[in-house]
């Protein structure tokens, strides 16, 4: 089966122009990454800030062009430098951003937020656009009457639902999610993750999920790719990576992730007590 999205040796260079005081240099943000995602699956890209994970997400979402390598969507080679992606391609790939406070226009009503992709990419008549937007609001757990409200009237979790709804208006097959829950509270995070899981099942969506939170990745991912300094240091199924991380960087990430099981807490409390008695306090 052809994967929904495939990357072969993707490279992205950023050119930093020189000035009177500094020589020009080239920063290689993504250093030749290969990946592929099958329909209905989730690939999680894990890494720290500066690792190139968001650059890769932008390349997959057809926002940014790679400087080397090949990107294939549904088996077709895509080069956004050669030709701007048309409505067909835009309908296939959509993106959800990290910060729902920054990614919605404060002066645009929710209805307009949702119908805009249809206005730009399709010639569906206005009445049907409205119906589709109302139906989509319900699908993501909001109310049809939210259609005429502005973004500031919604909480962070509701805004992220709106951003997801906007991304789904064109019936995409691939959704690129760049840290979609890291700006949200724990309980709201759980709701949005549940919503994403439901939508994936219902609409057969494929996700590329960028995150730095391993506990979220463990919950949502099928495949995991760990990247560090622009290189994919470890790639594999979720079970394999969580059971047996081999690369030192992956191990470091695991070691840094807080543990919430009671045994670990008991051990820590005991250590602290011992240290205090040792110090004679």
């Amino acid at each position: 089966m052809t994967p929904v999205v495939e990357g072969r040796a993707i490279v992205r260079d950023y050119h930093v122009p020189g000035s009177m005081f500094r020589r020009a240099k080239t920063v290689r943000a993504v250093k030749g990454i290969d990946f592929s995602v099958q329909k209905g699956k989730t690939l999680a890209i894990v890494g720290e800030s500066g690792s190139g994970k968001s650059t890769l997400a932008r390349i997959i979402a057809l926002i940014d062009a790679p400087t080397g390598g090949e990107l294939l969507i549904d088996g077709q080679r895509v080069d956004i430098n050669a030709s701007r992606p048309g409505p067909d391609l835009r309908s296939k790939v959509q993106m959800v951003f990290q910060n729902p406070y920054g990614s919605l226009n404060p002066r645009q009503k929710i209805g307009d937020v949702l119908t805009e992709p249809l206005v730009i990419n399709t010639d569906i008549p206005a009445a049907e656009r409205r119906d589709r937007a109302r139906a989509m609001l319900q699908k993501v757990g909001l109310m049809p009457e939210h259609y005429n409200r502005y973004p500031h009237m919604f909480s962070g979790g509701q805004r992220q639902r709106i951003a997801i709804a906007r991304a789904l208006m064109l019936n995409p097959s691939l959704l690129v999610l760049d840290e979609p829950v890291s700006a949200l509270d724990l309980s709201v995070q759980a709701q949005v993750l549940n919503l994403l899981a439901d939508l994936q099942e219902e609409m057969g969506l494929t996700y590329v999920f960028v995150s730095h939170d391993l506990s979220v990745v463990r919950y949502i991912a099928d495949e995991v790719m760990v990247i560090s300094e622009g290189e994919a240091v470890e790639q594999g199924s979720r079970e394999a990576i969580f059971a047996n991380p081999t690369h030192p960087y992956t191990r470091q990430l695991f070691a840094a992730t807080p543990v919430t099981d009671t045994q670990a807490i008991r051990a820590r409390v005991a250590r602290r007590k011992a240290a205090r008695q040792g110090a004679g306090v």
């Binding site: 720290e48 463990r218 070691a255 807080p258 543990v259 670990a264 820590r268 240290a275 110090a279």
Partner: protein, 279 residues
Amino acid sequence: MSLLTIRNLTVRFATATGSFTAVDGVDLFVDRAEVLAIVGESGSGKSVSMLAVMGLLPDTATVTADEMTYDGQDMLAMTDAQRRKLIGREITMIFQEPVASLNPSFTVGFQIEEVLRFNLGLSGKAARQRALELFRAVGIPQPEEKLKSYPHQLSGGQCQRVMIAIAIASNPRLLIADEPTTALDVTIQKQILDLLMSLQEDYGMGLILITHDMGVVAETADRVVVQYKGRKMEEADVLSLFENPQSPYTRALLSALPEHATGDRLPTVSDFFIEEAVR
């Protein structure tokens, strides 16, 4: 004896649509050399209650309490001058956004020396010397170089280390850390938490850690206060909180942790909380 005691703290904000109660009758205390975590979601009033202690709330806020004592001194009866002697010296605070908390127009060396001059009366060489020591204590690499850096030249983790260095400059007895690692990566978060914990042990400070992250609580706290919508839901030592949470809200929070997911779906706070509240 406890270091900071607060009884029945209420904070109201005057808004265009009437008064809004952000903190509603919260009691809490922290002992000497104890790590207290205050957990809650955004809007739970966890930051506001500590800002009230620091006197950093805007004029629209009304703070009332039956008791607010620091080390036996009544903070409610203090004059502003008396309070200033305490705040920034005995009680210090670090904030969530380290890059935004530092002044972008001055070097970090200038900013830490300013604190040393103003609070400890050190001058010139002595201040520089102490600043260097503090930078070493918080693990900033090449401290001599870094003193001359501006905040934008440092990473987020290094800026947070600078903030911590400034906060511990006056040997405080109580450090309030408001979401100190929320803006940082997990690996950096681990380093900063380890640093805070070791400083807390070395200096014997009381530490109040405000956070929404149950993972951070599990890794650091001695005792935990859970807040929701301005009210205290539960108070327990860390082990009993995770082993046997009493309040339905705490149970809901714990089960919403992705690593506790048992089936396909994550239980959410609303699944749980409303259900139990109705019962």
